[in-house]
Amino acid sequence: MSRYVNEEPIPMFEINHPEPGPSRHSHYDHASGDSPRPTMVVSGHRKFNTIYAGPQDNFDNHADKIVAKMEQHRALMEDTPISEQLRKEALRELPQCLTMKRCVKKKLSKSISRKSQRNPIGFWKRLKYRLSIKVAKTRHNFKHFNYFELWHGTLKDIEGHFGSGYASYFKFLRWLFVMNLLVSLMAFSLITVPQIIYDSSGTNGTVRNTRHFQLQNIFIGDGFFKETVLYYGHYTHNTIALVPYLSFYMPAAYFSVTVILYLLSFFILGVSVAQSYRRSFIETEGGLQNIYANKVFCGWDYAIATEEAAELKSSAIYHELKELLSESYETEWDRSCFYKFWTCTIQAVVNILILVVLVGVAWACWSLLEQFSFKGDGSVLVTTVAVNIIMMVFPIIFNYISKCRGKHPESEFDISKHTLQIIYNQALFWVGFLYSPILPALVTVKMFIIWYIREGCVRNFCKPPRRTWRAAQTQTFFMMLIFVTLVLIVAGHGYTLKSISPSDCGTFRNYERMYQMVTRGVANLEDDHLVWKIVIYITKPGAIALIMIEQAFAQKEKVKMLRDMLVWMSKDKKFLNQMYTKVTRGDVIGVRDNRFMDPSHILPYEVHGYSTEDVDSN
């Protein structure tokens, strides 16, 4: 999180309070009668953590000290937009009260304007600065694209009534909704609208819809819909003149818009997954064994705002702590070999069973598709209906099986099930987008409706959860799932673009392969051009995979080394602490060097051998 990465390593951040009374910085309104005693005051941001000793200071003085410390850092004191940004960040992260921060800010800007008066900046520089401020602001707005305000009231309400667990589902849904909305807007305006304009212009080459609308067309999507903008087949392969003298080549537009939107989704999802993984798995590794500390310090959900939810949360923490305590009391028999063997076999059998069922279902879907999908009449619905029945029935079966394993399925709002449903929905979106540019709009509308249905469902039919929901790690898992889905779908589409020849209708009908739209139509590259040889050589999947694997291993090694260093340092501190007390007590004990160097050995001296008064480093 430190923006000051290149500077000295982050020093220890110690907190010392002047006295138990005033809990923040030095008291503004003096307590009368207090004799000034040496106090040490926190001065804020880690980078500026000097400890000031001296008589109890007043407000202004303390602010001056903070400003003095900040002035020592040249990067903060320049009159440039970057510097201003750094100053703002430093101010925000200063752990002082707001009044102090405003005071510091005022003093800082006075000091800076004094400095800049001494060296005034020229006209061009000022212009450049103003421009870069504007650029930085737009970048900032883009990064923190504030879709947080969408459905904000509902989210807050659900958090208050049901806790952060349920709210995480809704946040995920909202995020996907915004992404789909943007994709659908772009696809609609860049592909569908030109096609509509072209159709209505009536130039030769347009196809008029000769079919009539019938009600059953809605269910299968054929008939009337076959010749509308709903399907790829309707899009023209011609050049459209949207505006006089400006031509619009439809195949190029179709290809580039869809490919770019897929790649953009891929990129955004990839970045989100990486950030999420880093936050919930890498940075927290080693923390999962602090079960009690996590439960006590991070157990309470600060978003809860109703009595009912608070009661349930409090009793959930109570039961979980009791469970942890009773697990630690378990007798030897429970952990006997036989018991472990039994649980292992049960788990293996159940997993194999589930795998067999899944394979069977996949095979059944495939054969249904083969048999029924190409007849062109209502029988195409058979697969759809079968898939939906499977999705409704099998979770119940699996739930029943897992109950036999001793798990307790929730009778409240099933976050996992519903999240998987929206992931499935998203997968359908991505599969179909290449062939139907209007599909994003339809799916976005569907998600909009889903939001309100789920919200109503939760409010009226569900109760708050009885157990704690591990939000951070399950969110990361779901994001990974959706990312893997996208990767597989993009791979599938990549294969289609490369190897399947387009049908006789649709916008690519003049090309043998869809990717030739780019190579022939735009870049005029033939199939055995040198460029292709180089590209194919570089992008051989094996080569890329090898490079990435090697990178991953290198990073892992680095992380492990840094972690070991942390352990070393803390053990060193412990050891030195005890050595110090030993020495000051008069006994000097020899140290064995090999122990001192190896962090994996326990320390030479057991902590419990000493009473706490000895180990007082203050």
């Binding site: 009374g21 923040r24 925000r92 009260c97 800010k105 940075e283 310090f297 705002a305 803390s570 602490n577």
Partner: protein, 190 residues
């Protein structure tokens, strides 16, 4: 929701934006909430210095602010963010409080204040008494003192590195930054 030029001046809003993790809209929302607690005490305009001087007593805040009402540590949170140490908060104190709990606040500053909150006796360490206090507040159902003692021992065992039987800031930070759910639970939406 009220013309922002009425409640605060441009300069004031700018200052608040620079010193907290909030946007203009959120700052005005906080003011509205603050005013709703005691409309008789808090004026609509805050141009002079009312935002730093007028304080709402802690009993009103813990009873009437819905974001804190059900929180077991509400009194302690108010104490930590108050200037007088007793929990009476001015507007700037509450803005600061909610800014630290917002989604945009980085982990480090949340850890800093979490430590202050759990350190009930203000002795720079989280000792067994602090943990005992926290457990009593956390659970409305009573844990027996023996259970509490067990849990306290386990927590100290997990987190204490230098063996002094209590948690310093470093040890606390070491544990909490590794808790996967810290950021998602230590969050109040405004």
């Amino acid at each position: 929701m009220g013309n922002k030029l009425v409640t605060f001046s441009e300069q004031q809003l700018d200052n608040y934006q620079d010193c907290t993790f909030f946007t203009r809209k959120e700052i005005l929302r906080v003011h509205k909430k603050y005013r709703e607690i005691r409309p008789d005490l808090v004026p609509k305009r805050m141009r002079k210095n009312e935002q730093a001087t007028i304080r709402i007593p802690v009993e009103d805040i813990t009873e009437k602010l819905p974001e804190l009402h059900e929180n077991p540590f509400k009194k302690r949170i108010c104490e930590v963010f108050s200037r007088d140490g007793k929990g009476n908060l001015s507007f700037e104190d509450i803005l600061d409080l909610l800014s630290v709990f917002s989604e945009q606040a980085p982990r480090d500053i949340k850890v800093f204040y979490a430590f202050r909150i759990y350190d009930f006796d203000n002795d720079k360490h989280i000792g067994p008494e602090d943990l005992d206090n926290a457990l009593i507040l956390l659970m409305r159902q009573e844990l027996t003192p023996e259970d509490r003692q067990q849990i306290i021992e386990k927590v100290i065992e997990e987190a204490d590195v230098d063996g002094d039987g209590k948690l310093s800031y470093m040890e606390f930070e070491h544990v909490i930054t590794r808790a996967p759910d810290f950021l998602s639970t230590f969050h109040i939406r405004i």
